[in-house]
Symmetry: C2
Subunit: 381 residues, 2 copies
C-alpha cells in the first residue's frame, strides 16, 4: 500500500492506494478520525453510503463486512444524465428523512460521478458534513477523488455547479479495478498519460515500458501508476487549491476533450477517451508552437496509442472549436489553453487563435475519422 | 457611517452601516476590491444582481445610478416557498445563459431570503464566485448578511442545504429601512434584543431607553442598534466560524422559534416574531434554572414587550416541543438549548428535559393565546 499525503491551504488528508482495502474500511476510517476530530473519535451514528446499484451488487458484501453498524445506503443511477441538481435534491431529502444531522458522515463509493455527487452532497447537507472517498474506477482513483472538486452538471454545461470540499481520506483499492471493462481502464489511463506528460517524466517512461503489465491489470503495476498520478495531482493541488494558476495545467487535453463530450452529448465517449483525443490535439499544437520537439511529439503520440484504441469520431472541426469556447476555464474573452513543454512540464497560454485551434482540431479529427489508432504492444490479457 | 470588521479563519471583510450608501455602491465596491484581489482591481464584465421584484421596483433607480455598466438582474419572488433548490437551479441556469464565468460577481440585494439564496448561488456557481451583500431589511442587516451562512430549505426543514461563503463586503443602508412595515421592523429588532441579552448589556440598556426613537426610525438610533448587533455577531463568528461551540449562543430563542415557524408552515409569523416568542420561553427556562434572576427576567420581558406587540398564537405545547426535537443544532440524541446568563451572557446546555421544555412552551403559549403583549412605550410614528 502507498500513502499519498495531500496538503492544501484548507485541508490535510491521506490517499491510501493498495490492494484489499475494502475488507477493512471501518477500522481504516476510524484510524484517520483522530487527525480530524481528536483522540478517541468514533464513526457517528448515521453513516451514509452513496453508490450505484451496479457497484453495490458487485461489492456490498465485502464493503459491509468491516462495519459494526449497517450504514444507510443511497443509490444514484449511473451516467452523466443523473449528475444533476434534481438528483442532489432527492438524495438530500433522503438523508434528512433518515435522520442525518451535522455529525453524520458520507462515504462516496463508486466512479467519478458518484464521487462528484457524493462530495457535493457532503458539501451542502446542513452546510457541510464530512465524507470519505472510496473510488471504484481507475479514473476516479487518479483524478476526481483527489483535489476537493465536487459538483453536478447544468443543462448548459458540465460541472457548472459545485464546491471545493475535501474528504477525510481516500481509499483506492486496486481490486475494485478487476471488474472494470478494458475500455474503462484504458480511458482512465489517459489521465495518467496526461500526468506523465505535464509533470512526471518517470511516470511517462514507466507507462511506455510497462503497457502490457498495466493493461493486464498487474496490481503492483496499477498501484505504481495510480500512486504516481495521485502524487502529481496532490503536488499541484497543494500549490494551487483554487485553480488560480498552476492547477490549470491539469487541463491538458481537456479543452477539446470537454468540447468533444459536449457536442456528442456525453454519450459516445468516456471522459478519458475524449481527453485522449484532446491530448492528441494539444500535442499537435505544442509541436506547431515549438513547445515540444517533433521527436517528443512522436514519442508522446506513441504513448497515447499504447493505451488505445481510441474510439472513432466523426465531427465537424469548426463546431468543435465553437463548443470549446464555452470552456469554464476561460475568463471573459480570454481563451486559455494548456500546452505540453517537453516531456514532464506544461504551460498555460492565452493567445491560441481560433485558426490554430481549428488546425489542431482538424489534425485530430483526421486521425479520428480515418484510422482509429491501434496499440502497438499487445496486452497480456 | 460605521465600519465593522469581520475576521474569521477563512475570511476578512467589512460591514458598512450608514445612510445613503445605495447612491454610491459601485465606487464603494471598487474600493474594497484591492483587499481581495490586489491593486487596480475593477468590477468584472458580468455583475449579477439577485433581488426581488418589490425591492427592485422601489430602489432600482438609486441602486443603478452609480454603476458604469448595467448589471444583469435576476429576480427571486419573495417568501420562504421560493427558497428552494428549484429556484437555485433556475437562477444558476440564467447565470450560465447570460455568460457568467468564474470572475463574475453577484450582488444580493434584498432581505434575508435574497441574501441566503444569493450567497448560495455565489457559493456553488462554478464552484464559487465572489459576492456582495446589500441587505434591505433590519433582520438581514443585523443577522443573515453577516457570518457567511447561506442556503435554502428542503421540504423536510429550513436551511437544511447550504454552505459557508462570506461576501467581499456588506453595505447596510438605513434608508432602505424606510419602506419596511412597522411589523417587519419590530420583528427584526428582536434579533437585536437577543444580541443584547446574550452579549451586550450596553445594547440592551440602549434599547430599553430608546425604543421610541428606534421604532420611530431615527437613522442614527437605527445605525447604533444595527452596528452594535453586527459587532456582537462579528465577535462571535470570528471566534467560532463553523458553529462548533460559542456560535451556538446566537440561537437563543431559536429552538422554539424555529419550531413555531415549522408547525405554522412559515406563513403566520415573521422569523423575528417567532424568535420573540422563543426568547420568552428561553427567559422563562433561564429563570426556572436560576441562570437569570426574577428581576432580570422581568426586565428582559419588559424589553421584549417594548418591541411588540407579538402576534397571537394558538398552538399545542406538546406539538411544539415535538417539532423542536428536529432542530438541526441537535446532534444525535443530544438536545441543545441556549439559556441567558444574567444580562449580557448566555450558555449552551444539553440537559433540558422534555418536561422542562414543555413547561416553558406552556408558559409562552399561555401569554401568546390570551394576551398578546403590547408595547409599554408609544412609538413616535
Amino acid at each position: 500500500m502507498q500513502v499519498i499525503r495531500i496538503q492544501t491551504p484548507s485541508a490535510k488528508y491521506s490517499v491510501f492506494a493498495g490492494t484489499g482495502l475494502l475488507d477493512s474500511l471501518e477500522p481504516r476510517m476510524v484510524r484517520v478520525l483522530p487527525e480530524h476530530y481528536g483522540r478517541g473519535s468514533r464513526l457517528p451514528k448515521r453513516v451514509f453510503v452513496l453508490t450505484s446499484p451496479e457497484i453495490w451488487n458487485l461489492w456490498s458484501k465485502r464493503f459491509l463486512a468491516s462495519f459494526s453498524a449497517e450504514p444507510i445506503i443511497l443509490f444514484l443511477s449511473p451516467g452523466e444524465t443523473h449528475k444533476t441538481l434534481r438528483s442532489v435534491e432527492k438524495l438530500l431529502r433522503e438523508m434528512s428523512k433518515a435522520g442525518g444531522d451535522r455529525s453524520s458522515l458520507l462515504i462516496a463509493f463508486g466512479g467519478g460521478i458518484i464521487g462528484d455527487v457524493g462530495g457535493f452532497l457532503a458539501a451542502i447537507y446542513m452546510r457541510g458534513i464530512d465524507y470519505f472517498q472510496v473510488p471504484s474506477t481507475f479514473l476516479s482513483q487518479v483524478d476526481s477523488s483527489v483535489g476537493g472538486k465536487v459538483g453536478v452538471n447544468l443543462p448548459e454545461g458540465k460541472n457548472l455547479v459545485g464546491n471545493f470540499h475535501h474528504p477525510l481520506a481516500v481509499f483506492a483499492d486496486m481490486e475494485l479495478l478487476s471488474t472494470l471493462s478494458d475500455r474503462e481502464l484504458r480511458a482512465g489511463l489517459f489521465e495518467s498519460v496526461k500526468a506523465g506528460i505535464i509533470r512526471d517524466r518517470t511516470l511517462a517512461r514507466y507507462m511506455e515500458e510497462n503497457s502490457a503489465k498495466i493493461l493486464g491489470r498487474d496490481n503492483s503495476a496499477l498501484e505504481k501508476v495510480i500512486a504516481a498520478s495521485i502524487r502529481m495531482k496532490a503536488d499541484i493541488v497543494g500549490k494551487d487549491e483554487r485553480e488560480n494558476g498552476l492547477r490549470m495545467i491539469l487541463n491538458l487535453g481537456h479543452t477539446l476533450g470537454h468540447a468533444i463530450e459536449s457536442i456528442t452529448g456525453y454519450r459516445k465517449l468516456l471522459h478519458g477517451e475524449a481527453v485522449g483525443w484532446g491530448l492528441i490535439a494539444a500535442l499537435y499544437l505544442g509541436k506547431q508552437r515549438g513547445t515540444i520537439t517533433a521527436v517528443e511529439f512522436d514519442r508522446l503520440m506513441r504513448l497515447i496509442y499504447l493505451y488505445g484504441p481510441l474510439p472513432a469520431l466523426k465531427l465537424n472541426a469548426q463546431k468543435l472549436v465553437d463548443a470549446s469556447a464555452k470552456d469554464k476555464k476561460h475568463l471573459g474573452n480570454v481563451r486559455r489553453f494548456v500546452l505540453p513543454v517537453g516531456i514532464g512540464d506544461a504551460t498555460v497560454v492565452e493567445d491560441v487563435s481560433p485558426v490554430e485551434l481549428l488546425d489542431a482540431a482538424r489534425y485530430m479529427l483526421a486521425l479520428a475519422k480515418e484510422l482509429p489508432p491501434k496499440p502497438e504492444a499487445e496486452t497480456s490479457r
